[in-house]
């Protein structure tokens, strides 16, 4: 039943859209295309606000307002500038595309982990089926809207609105400004459209820049279907008919999917259905020309009504019959069913599926005998993806295999228990599926990865051996493309071996022009990231490439034969194969929660020797040696893939990564640990899974996490922060324990000296580099005498830092002027007093209380022309002059290195604690200039970050 209830829910939420279209098209006789844009606007506004923490029901009020603004603009330009209504709608719709992108900031916002109205409804669920509960509440909501709206159309204003559509001359003669009425009505209609978008985004779990495409047609279909079923002049029944029309439309889509219609044909079927309904309703309503049926059967008014009700009844009976039949049939199914959800027909998704099918058979499953595979393709229509998922749930699919990001989003939103294995997703974390390879929803795993951009750039660099100008083309409405370009920019910035020339396009017909414009900007090579729009017109780039001998480098092996000179990337066929192995593991009973996400395991390096000789480019031997596929004399060759690389590693190990709280320093450290683990494939190399634990700053929680770690018999534990270390060290004397982000382990009681420590633990001591900081001060300010410092004696770490500062002050000939604070309120006063002492420099080290007030301290000091120096690199953004601190990301990486040594068999008791302070210097030269500080180029060159 899930399928039908899901369809009804969608129908109700889309009914707001249909109401909008009813107001413009039926009440005003104004075909309004704005809805294609304002629907997305509503979704975008709601998503952004909900992510920002707003209540979902208040957020949709803003969706309504945003939609209404769009409608207002359409109405305004239509009436004031006398622009044709269709054209006005198209103009606003086109403009909204950019505005929607601006609102969203990217083309897709996941709401998977944000509370939508569905989550709020669920809180009050008395224990019935989730979708059914939503249906009950949504239909109640709809009844309220229906009554209010119908009532509205019977008020003076409502009557005037209807009359404006019916006879504007008469309305104008009764003293009404019809232009204002039109603007008001179109705004109101688009308000409902925005509301619909806001709700649909929450229901489907994301908003997407393309979700409004076709909104005008589907809503028109709903209005017309409704009108065909209920024909009555009462406003109440007219609005009911719109709602019912929307429900029936969604049920039809569900039905079409269920009986196995290709959703690609769905659009044609919709068009034909709408046309037939129009013709039929014309036959029923036309006053002047009655269509005579065969046998001279002419319908009187009452007969007409009867006939219409009969037709509606037949449709409903057929619907229910089919529902019954298919629900019944599917419940008999016993075999394990795998449901493949494909978002659209693009090459890479189809290849993934083929890879999956071929590998699952090679592993030994007989499709049809051992497992059943059903596959549905949404052909790029987002609401259809959702309906496909409902359909699969209804058919009792056991394992979901969404291919592509959009499919994964839709499946994730509906499937909370059954296993989901995704494939060919660029980055599951941006769509909210998990936080890292190990920390993911317990029913989900999959294969992901983006093109190895750095590696390809390295290949190009080794071929040319000089600084290059790369040309890239991409469609900015795809989040993956934008992400990849950002990665490319970062890689280029880090390597310094190239510069980037970019050209953006919005459809494939612009690609050739973009390619030529890049060539005219004298690029050396094309560097193409995977982009569906660009690949659709790949031939046009090849044309430009060959005409100007500018070679194409890309990540997609399929492009090698098309005319790329070299590729370095992943084969989507392999992504499917890899997914087949995950499915195999799940079928064999492995707990999906402990299967980490996998990156692509096989890299394809391909060379096109035809192009190489045509362009006369020489390829170094080491690049040739790397390649595992090639094109020669027009033929494609590739090395066989050894399927054993996909197999799961044998001994399982698990580690806990325990961080005390969420602050920048600890997050960076934990990120460093994870990054090293991922980059070095601990998952596959050592079969290691990592569980992330975070006490969120709560000591009691930290304790229970520590005991959980012991109880669950983790193989390793990595702690981040002193408190986390202490909590674990307390209760755990066995599990190897590596700590990081600890200022002074000796003070914390886990060790007497760096080599004499509790036997099961080791790690890194990372104190604030107080001594080096004072040394640096002396270098920059040879004549400075007094250093001001505030600190809170309640903080143990701060006390250590202050003591160090006192000693270093002696060494470097400073006088330390200290003031004590116990909370942030006292800081301003204390600062004034220390400034009055005539200090030359102000310094703060590891004090948490003072660190909270860094921005305001910086402002005061700048006014007094006193340089401000801290030990926290992140402070540089708050107008601090110099920050000399530890790079905690590196600390995290270093801790992971120790973990690796332990995994490889070294004993913790034999690994001494290391003092590890990877110094990270940041300098703000703007402040130097403002304060007339002369800072030598030598010092600046040591800085890893310079604000100019």
């Amino acid at each position: 039943m899930e399928l039908w209830i899901g369809a009804l829910n969608l129908g109700f939420l889309y009914a707001f859209l249909a109401i909008g279209t009813y107001i413009t098209y039926k009440v005003y006789n104004f075909p309004d295309i704005t809805v294609d844009g304002s629907f997305t606007t509503g979704a975008a506004v709601a998503s952004v606000l909900i992510i920002g923490g707003m209540n979902p029901f208040i957020a949709v009020v803003f969706s309504f307002a945003a939609g209404a603004c769009a409608g207002f603009v359409t109405g305004f330009i239509h009436t004031k500038f006398k622009i044709n209504g269709l054209l006005a709608g198209i103009l606003v719709m086109t403009g909204l595309y950019s505005i929607n992108l601006r609102i969203m900031g990217k083309s897709n916002i996941p709401l998977l982990n944000s509370p939508g109205f569905v989550t709020i409804f669920e809180e009050y669920n008395p224990g019935i089926n989730h979708e059914l509960w939503i249906l009950i509440l949504v239909s109640l909501m709809m009844i309220v809207v229906w009554l209010l709206l119908s009532r509205f159309f019977q008020t003076d204003l409502g009557i005037t609105m209807r009359a404006t559509g019916d006879n504007p001359v008469m309305v104008s003669a009764s003293g009404i400004n019809t232009d204002k009425m039109k603007i008001f009505g179109i705004a109101m209609a688009n308000g409902f459209v925005g509301l619909s978008g806001g709700f649909v985004a929450q229901y489907q779990g994301f908003s997407d820049i393309g979700m409004g495409v076709g909104a005008v047609v589907t809503s028109l279909a709903a209005v017309i279907i409704g009108e065909a079923i209920i024909r009555h002049r009462s406003v109440f029944l007219k609005i009911v008919s719109v709602i019912i029309g929307s429900l029936i439309f969604r049920l039809m889509v569900a039905l079409a999917l269920l009986v196995g219609l290709d959703p690609n044909d769905l659009k044609l079927i919709t068009a034909i259905f709408v046309l037939l309904t129009l013709i039929a309703s014309g036959a029923f309503s036309s006053e002047k020309k009655k269509i005579n049926f065969p046998l001279k059967f002419s319908l009187s008014k009452n007969h007409r009504r009867l006939f219409a009700s009969l037709a509606a009844a037949v449709v409903l009976v057929v619907l229910f019959f089919l529902v019954y039949k298919y629900t019944f049939q599917t419940s008999v199914q016993k075999k394990l069913t795998i449901g493949i959800v494909i978002a659209n027909d693009s090459d890479i998704l189809i290849k993934t599926r083929d890879g999956f099918l071929s590998e699952i058979e090679r592993i030994g499953y007989k499709i049809g005998d051992d497992i059943t595979i059903i596959e549905k393709n949404a052909n790029g229509d987002i609401p259809t993806v959702s309906t496909i998922v409902d359909n699969f749930i209804n058919q009792g699919v056991d394992v979901f295999l969404p291919i592509s990001t959009a499919s994964t989003q839709a499946v994730m939103n509906k499937v909370k228990e059954k296993p989901v294995i995704f494939a060919t997703v660029a980055d599951p974390f941006v769509i909210g599926v998990g936080k890292n390879n190990y920390d993911h929803p317990p029913n989900v795993t999959g294969i992901y990865g983006t093109m190895p951009i750095k590696e390809l750039l390295d290949v190009i660099t080794s071929i040319y051996n000089r600084k290059l100008k790369l040309g890239a083309i991409w469609n900015p409405s795809f989040p993956n493309s934008v992400h990849n370009i950002k990665v490319l920019q970062d890689v280029i910035a880090a390597s310094g071996t190239a510069v980037l020339e970019g050209a953006t396009i919005t459809n494939s017909s612009e690609v050739y022009q973009a390619a030529q414009s890049l060539i005219s900007r004298n690029i050396d090579v094309f560097f193409l990231i995977p982009d569906i729009t660009v690949y659709a017109a790949f031939e046009s780039i090849v044309k430009a490439s060959r005409a100007n001998k500018v070679p194409i480098f890309t990540g997609d092996v399929e492009r090698l034969q098309d005319g790329a000179i070299a590729v370095y990337g992943y084969e989507y066929f392999v992504s499917g194969m890899q997914a087949a192995h995950l499915v195999d593991r799940v079928i064999k009973g492995e707990n999906i929660a402990s299967i980490p996400f996998e990156n692509y395991k096989v890299v394809t390096v391909g060379l096109n020797y035809d192009i190489i000789s045509e362009f006369g480019i020489s390829i170094p031997e080491e690049v040739k040696a790397m390649s595992n596929s090639k094109v020669e004399n027009g033929k494609f060759y590739k090395n066989e893939i050894d399927p054993s690389v996909f197999a799961a590693p044998s001994i399982k190990r698990k580690a806990a990564l325990f961080q005390f709280t969420d602050n920048a320093l600890l997050n960076e450290t934990a990120e460093g640990v994870r990054s090293y683990i991922e980059k070095n494939n601990f998952g596959t190399k050592y079969n290691l899974t990592i569980d992330n634990k975070n006490a969120q700053g709560d000591f009691a929680t930290a304790q229970s996490i520590a005991s959980e770690i012991v109880a669950k018999k983790y193989d390793y534990v990595v702690t981040v922060s002193t408190v986390a270390m202490q909590a674990v060290a307390n209760g755990n004397k066995k599990i190897p324990h590596i700590f990081a982000a600890v200022t002074d382990p000796l003070q914390s009681g886990v060790a007497k000296t760096f080599s004499d420590h509790q036997p099961n633990l080791t790690g890194l001591a990372t104190p604030q580099p107080v001594e080096s900081t004072l040394k640096l001060m002396r270098e920059i300010f040879p004549d400075a005498k007094k250093i001001g410092m505030l600190w809170n004696p309640a903080e143990a770490n701060s006390e250590i830092c202050t003591k160090k500062a006192r000693e270093a002050a002696k060494t470097y000939g400073f006088i330390l002027k200290e003031r004590i604070v116990t909370n942030t309120n006292e800081i301003e006063e204390a600062l004034k007093s220390v400034i009055a002492d005539g200090i030359d420099i102000f310094f703060t080290s590891g004090d948490v209380t003072v660190s909270m007030a860094v921005p305001s301290i910086a402002v005061t000091l700048l006014k007094k022309r006193i340089p401000f120096i801290t030990n926290t690199p992140a402070d540089i953004k708050d107008n601090v002059f110099i920050c000399l601190g530890a790079d905690y990301f590196e600390v995290g990486e270093e801790a992971a290195k120790i973990l690796e040594r332990v995994i490889k068999g070294e004993k913790t008791e034999q690994i001494p604690i290391q003092l590890f302070v990877p110094e990270n210097l940041s300098i703000n030269l703007k402040i130097a200039k403002e304060l007339d500080i002369d800072i030598s180029e030598k010092i600046v060159s040591r800085a890893s970050r310079v604000v100019r």
């Binding site: 003076d156 001359v169 003669a173 002049r233």
Partner: protein
């Protein structure tokens, strides 16, 4: 009540389609006067009505209604003074809405509309009373959609809508021309009844010389955008259609009109 001073209006100026619709019209209509306007096609009588109603704004000149300068006011802004009945019986009513809803629109002429339900029993009773006075048995069909009524019924309703909220000026624009003779005479009867009962200041365009003489307290004759004759009640009462035609013939000579035009006038009005 209505004062027009030196009104000029040219359509499509400076093109080959240039039409000087009104040339220096000066006209004063007193309160409770009932003016009938006659003239050949293209004489400017409809433009004159549209200028008074505000559907067309003049190129120059001044318009006052009830002492208010409305020269630059749009039709919907003048609607609180003026109500109109058009030639086409379909123009004055909204076909998709009920009789009651149409009457409500007319009843609130010139007022702001709020999302407030005023279509209650009291007002429906009042409407029923009013519709009864049309003597067309429509009083029990207030909930029927206007689109289902005949042209005569719709025009009668339009007339009722025009007077239901007593206007300062009633404008009738050949409002019987599109009806069959029986319906036309019914509408004329109703028009006289309403105008007399409410003592309305009225401007009526007609193509029937009979109607022009029979109705109203004053008749003006238009030609080529000018008022060429203004016949007061005292003169009108004694006149026959033949007299009117002769009068036009005289004017023709005075204004050096052609015989052809006389023929045209005779044909159109006889």
């Amino acid at each position: 009540m209505i004062v027009l001073e030196n009104i000029n209006k040219t359509f499509n100026p400076d093109t080959i389609n240039e039409v000087k619709a009104l040339r220096g019209i000066n006209l004063k209509i007193k309160a409770e006067e009932f003016v009938t306007v006659i003239g050949t096609n293209g004489s400017g009588k409809s433009t004159l009505l549209n200028i008074i109603a505000g559907s067309i704004l003049p190129d120059s000149g001044r318009i006052q209604i009830s002492g208010v300068d409305v020269t630059r006011k749009r039709d919907y802004q003048r609607a609180k003074f003026i109500s109109r009945v058009f030639q086409n019986p379909f123009s004055g009513t909204a076909p998709g809405m009920t009789i009651a809803e149409n009457l409500l629109m007319a009843y609130q002429r010139g007022k702001y509309r709020y999302p407030k339900t005023n279509l209650n029993k009291n007002i429906l009773d009042f409407f029923r009373e009013q519709v009864k006075s049309l003597e067309m048995q429509l009083e029990d069909r207030l909930d029927n959609v206007i689109g289902t009524l005949s042209g005569g019924q719709r025009q009668a309703l339009t007339l009722l809508m025009a007077v239901i909220n007593k206007p300062e000026v009633l404008m009738l624009d050949e409002h019987t021309a599109a009806l069959d003779p029986k319906a036309a005479s019914q509408i004329i009867k109703l028009s006289k009844k309403f105008v007399n009962a409410e003592k309305l200041t009225t401007v009526m365009i007609t193509h029937s010389m009979q109607q022009a003489l029979e109705m109203g307290t004053r008749t003006i004759m238009m030609y080529k955008g000018k008022i060429i004759d203004d016949i007061p009640l005292s003169e009108k009462e004694k006149m026959t259609v033949e007299d009117l035609l002769n009068k036009f013939n005289e004017l023709r000579k005075k204004e050096q009109l052609t015989d052809e035009l006389y023929e045209k006038f005779r044909k159109e009005y006889y």
